[in-house]
Every structure is written in structure tokens, then in C-alpha cells.
Symmetry: C2
Subunit: 119 residues, 2 copies
Amino acid sequence: MSEISNLSIKLRLIHENEIAFGPGKAELLLTIISTGSISKAAKQMSMSYRRAWQLVDAMNRCFSSALVITQTGGSHGGGAVVTPLGLEILQLYQEMQQQALLAATPHYDELKSHLKSAP
Amino acid sequence: MSEISNLSIKLRLIHENEIAFGPGKAELLLTIISTGSISKAAKQMSMSYRRAWQLVDAMNRCFSSALVITQTGGSHGGGAVVTPLGLEILQLYQEMQQQALLAATPHYDELKSHLKSAP
């Protein structure tokens, strides 16, 4: 059994043919929280502002109310705040991922035991 | 709550920077089982033979023994058989996915309740 194995898990909440929430949007929310702006978050994630804005827009459209609110200061200049609903969705998503990973672990351990050992 | 929402889950077993097993390889194994050949499976999955062969090769290299054995008849002509280890890995993967999905369901239901209802 090699030590350089791991299990990647990606959960995506699909709503009307759109990804309402997934790994990329979760990371974007976390980065907006830490940077306080969409443009800074985009830069930190090596993503265009346009792409980050599209992800925020998709989240805001899919949920019953906005997950991110942009503040005045122009389209690139103003800050952005993750709303209480945004924080709740993020937390639910992270807990869901943790529960799924936990449930997958016994089978993962068995799968891992069949991998080729490092030479 | 809309009825056109769903939860997509993708589990990938990573081994030495390579995907040893994941959704695409699981589907390929299933299609090799049903068609009896890599080239027919590739065609059915709208994938090049080369790509299908690369996926088979990656699986065979990552695990302790081959998951797919090709039979004589030329590089494209011969049939392919999923080995007992291949069947075991496939079953473990499917069970792992099922367990993860089951564990994610309570949080998914809660996330879903925050989605915008269809107009």
C-alpha cells in the first residue's frame, strides 16, 4: 500500500441544469470572505474577474436569496460580502462533503489495499 | 423546492498523481463488460480507441494486477475481458459511491430547501 494515494470527492448541487454549488464556488466564497472583494478573490484564485462574477451570479440566481452582496464602488472597485445564507450554504456543503468522505472511507481503504505498492 | 435539482458526486482514487479509478473508468469497465471489447466500448462512449486504451493502461498500471486483459487478435481486433480484480474494484467503487451519496442526503435535502423555486 502506497502512502501517496488519496480519495478526491467532488459534490455538485445541480439546479435547473446549472451548478448551484460545488467545489469551485465553495472555494470562491471562502476567498471572498478572506479578501473582502470579488476582484481580489478572482486574482488569488488565478481566475478572471468575469469568471468569478459569473460564478457569483449563478449562485445568487439559484438560491432563494443572494449568497454574495456587492457593495458600491463601481463594478470592480467595491467590496463584496458573503451573506448569512451564503455562510449557511457553505457550512452545509462542507459538512456534506465531510460526511460523504467519512462514509466512503471503509471502501476507500479496501480499494487502496489493491493498489500497486511503490517499488 | 424544485424537482429539477440533483446531487452529483464524483469520487476519484488518486495514486501517484494518476487517477487510478473514477467515474470515467467505472463506466468504461461496465461498457467493456457489455461489449466485450475496448474498441466497441470506446465507440459506444464516443471516445477514441487511443483514449480508452490509455484509461485501461492507467488502471492496469495502478493496481496490483490487471483489471482488463486484452485477448489476441491484433491491437484493435481482439476482445477484452474484465478480470475478477476488475469486477471487485468496480463493485467496491460503486458501493463507496452509494455510501457517500447516502451520507450526503440529509445535508443535500437541507441545501435543496434553500434553492429558488421554479416560477
